[in-house]
Amino acid sequence: MGLLDRLSGLLGLKKKEVHVLCLGLDNSGKTTIINKLKPSNAQSQDIVPTIGFSIEKFKSSSLSFTVFDMSGQGRYRNLWEHYYKEGQAIIFVIDSSDRLRMVVAKEELDTLLNHPDIKHRRIPILFFANKMDLRDAVTSVKVSQLLCLENIKDKPWHICASDAIKGEGLQEGVDWLQDQIQAVKT
């Protein structure tokens, strides 16, 4: 941290950096969401299943996000917990059309919430009930019921219906997340 950095920080020129974890089952649309949040010239055209994880950066109005986009495939899910310590916020993506695997998403969420690195922290969690464009998608209210989100009492959380391909609902979620992170910092 040089003097110049501190100065620019004080003046609000340089944005504060936050680390965010992006979690969710495979094929839920994590990478697509992150891709859509990046500036349009940096977006990639085709999305392939993530192997391991990838680090992406994007900026909102007042924060600079560094996102750990974790792979959701079963064999990589045990990697998630190694990044819990660093994360200041969590984005959890759910495929609203995959009714069968909603229990798996709930199981992974419960494991996440009961992890010692997460359990006692007041870390904001943003849920994206993704793939709202699909015909057999359930509503975000139904998703929050199925995941028993009302049981999360000690952490701020928010659920957004989203369609990552069109980009609908993403900005709303990121705005909420930004407010929460700033509320925690101040």
Partner: protein, 593 residues
């Protein structure tokens, strides 16, 4: 209560309780209206989109409306009627080129219907069998109107009764008809040549020439005609034909057709036959004591479920390895393969509404279901690798997903041999003496046994004699005479030189008191001195124990002890009623002084 919980504990350990279950309940629809068995379930990525579908050859309620149903997630994707009841469903790759979407094969009646991309692609029919010449002759006569339907029926029935070659389907249907429909049937069918086809009973897939997961596979069919057929995956020609002594009902296949393969066929005669690549006839035979109800191969072990409520493990050469009893009748069996952990286990659906999972003979898990499970299937479904699909007797569909963190551990209890069996015993080394002795025992075993028996008899004789003598001379502390049933028991207290001797005398008769008894002590007068060596006993009331105390003074200072005899006598009789020998302790008081 305690007994019930302990007997249930082995099941309880492996059982899935709500909180720490290994399974997630993804879906349960009790009204799914699926009536099928494990052979008619298959999982495959039918459209090549990474989303695995479930194929069900549904018998329909009461076996009335057979249908082919394809499920995507919890919902039915497509449904199409089938011409006959399905016998088995399988998915396999037909050719190498991309996209590698598997074809679906459904065995039903004498045909295999092959679907690609869920569209009908090919129909394979079993080759015709030579018809019965007599039957042929009859139909020829009917064709020329030389025979009326009634006679035809009688003649055909005669053939059905005794002929070795069974009748064709046409004749069998004719025999089922009412009298008024016969004429029309004969007129309609008499010009057609009669065909006799057999029926497919079971189907499996066998890799053609590569062991890869996504290699081209052949279909293996078992027929009612006691034959096994291997079909070419592309051309659907018969590559190999093998005959069995009985009708196969379950098939297990391993290996590759072009290299080496093994077939195990469980048959209706209760035997399992093993065939190899070059064998036209079975190489090995396992004779089960009961009818097989399921056959699953786990690595190299064949697991057979029998209708005697047990699972048996066999090697591929037919050697029996183990047997596990089940708490209820086995309804269906299938393989559980968890590829991420390299686990293969057997699932068995039982009549009491349990699904038990066994690895060899160790119970891994028990799943309780709301209804008895009639078909089971484990594998990748949708996008989830370890999914268990079950259909119940009432037509319900249950889908469970194995938790990512779940590990099957062999629960204790009935699992495996008791721990004591594994303990190493400290067996001494074989010495020369031991070897000689063993040799001698082997040679003269009979003589040694006889000598031992003779000695044993002698010992028993002497014991009996001594006992009789004791009874006769009333030497025992219990009197057995009918008039004076008495019991005597003596206690010596003290360290010496003065001891207190207490005799407990009890009248054990039911009601009668005993009077007129005397007690007399016999002792060495050099060693001991008693104040009263002979005294009267008061009246003995039945049941009570009378303590009679007397002091004994030890006179010797050499630390010697002796026996004091106690005799209980009846007044006016010289023979004692009973007697006791008291071993006096060494007088420690003197020894110390």
């Amino acid at each position: 209560m305690a007994a019930a919980s302990s007997s249930d504990s082995d099941g309880g350990r492996a059982e899935s309780s709500e909180a720490n279950s290994k399974w997630l309940d993804a879906h349960y629809d009790p009204m799914a209206n699926i009536h099928t068995f494990s052979a008619c379930l298959a999982l495959a990525d039918l459209h090549g989109d990474g989303e695995y579908k479930l194929v069900v050859g549904d018998l329909g309620p009461g076996g009335q409306q057979p249908r082919l149903k394809v499920f995507k997630g919890p919902t039915v994707l497509s449904e199409s009627p089938l011409p006959a009841l399905p016998a088995a469903a399988a998915t396999f790759l037909m050719e190498q080129h991309e996209p590698r979407t598997p074809a679906l094969a459904l065995a039903s009646g004498p045909c295999v219907y092959v679907y690609k991309n869920l569209r009908p692609y090919f129909k394979f029919s079993l080759p015709d069998l030579p018809p019965n010449p007599l039957e042929q002759d009859l139909w020829n006569q009917a064709k020329e109107d030389r025979i009326d339907p009634l006679t035809l029926k009688e003649m055909l029935e005669g053939i059905r009764e005794k002929a070795e070659v069974p009748l064709s389907v046409q004749s069998l249907r004719f025999l089922q008809l009412e009298l008024r429909d016969m004429e029309a049937f004969v007129n309609q069918h008499k010009s057609k040549p009669i065909r006799r086809q057999t029926v497919i009973t079971t189907m499996a897939t066998l890799k053609k020439n590569l062991a890869d997961e996504d290699a081209v596979s052949c279909l293996v069919l078992g027929t009612e005609n006691k034959e096994l057929l291997v079909l070419d995956p592309g051309a659907f020609t018969i590559l190999a034909q093998m005959s069995l002594p009985s009708v196969p009902v379950f098939l297990e296949v391993s290996g590759q057709f072009d290299v080496e393969f093994r077939l195990a066929a469980a048959c209706r005669n209760g035997n399992i036959y093993m065939l190899r690549r070059d064998s036209k006839r079975p190489k090995y035979c396992i004779e089960l004591s009961a009818q097989p109800v399921g056959l699953v191969r786990v690595h190299k072990i064949l697991v057979v479920g029998s209708n005697q409520d047990s699972l048996h493990g066999f090697t591929h050469k037919g050697k029996k390895l183990w047997t596990v009893p089940m708490p209820a009748a086995i309804l269906t069996m299938n393989l559980l393969e968890q590829q991420s952990r390299g686990l293969q286990a057997v699932m068995a659906g039982l009549a009491n509404g349990e699904v038990r999972i066994y690895h060899d003979k160790a119970l891994l898990n028990v799943i309780r279901t709301p209804d008895a499970v009639t078909s089971l299937c484990f594998g990748r479904y949708g996008r989830e690798d370890n999914t268990l699909i079950m259909t119940t007797r009432g037509g319900g569909l249950l889908i469970k997903i194995l938790k990512r963190t779940a590990v099957f551990v062999e629960g204790g209890g009935e699992a495996g041999p008791p721990p004591a069996q594994a303990m190493k015993l400290n067996v001494p080394r074989k010495t020369r003496l031991y070897v000689d002795q063993t040799l001698r025992e082997r040679e003269a075993g009979t003589a040694m046994h006889r000598a031992f028996q003779a000695d044993l008899y002698l010992l028993r004789l002497r014991a009996a004699r001594a006992y009789v003598q004791a009874l006769e001379s009333s030497l025992s502390p219990v009197s057995a005479t009918a008039r004076e049933p008495l019991k005597l028991h003596a206690v010596v207290q003290g360290l010496g030189p003065t001891f207190k001797l207490t005799l407990h005398l009890q009248n054990v008769s039911a009601a009668r008191p005993i009077v007129g008894l005397r007690v007399c002590f016999l002792y060495n007068e050099v060693l001991y001195a008693l104040p009263r060596a002979f005294f009267k006993v008061p009246m003995l009331v039945p049941g009570l124990s009378y303590p009679l105390e007397t002091f004994v003074e030890s006179l010797s200072d050499k630390g010697i002890s002796d026996i004091i005899k106690v005799l209980v006598l009846r007044e006016g009789q010289s023979a004692p009623l009973l007697s006791a020998h008291i071993n006096m302790p060494v007088s420690e008081g003197l020894a110390a002084a």
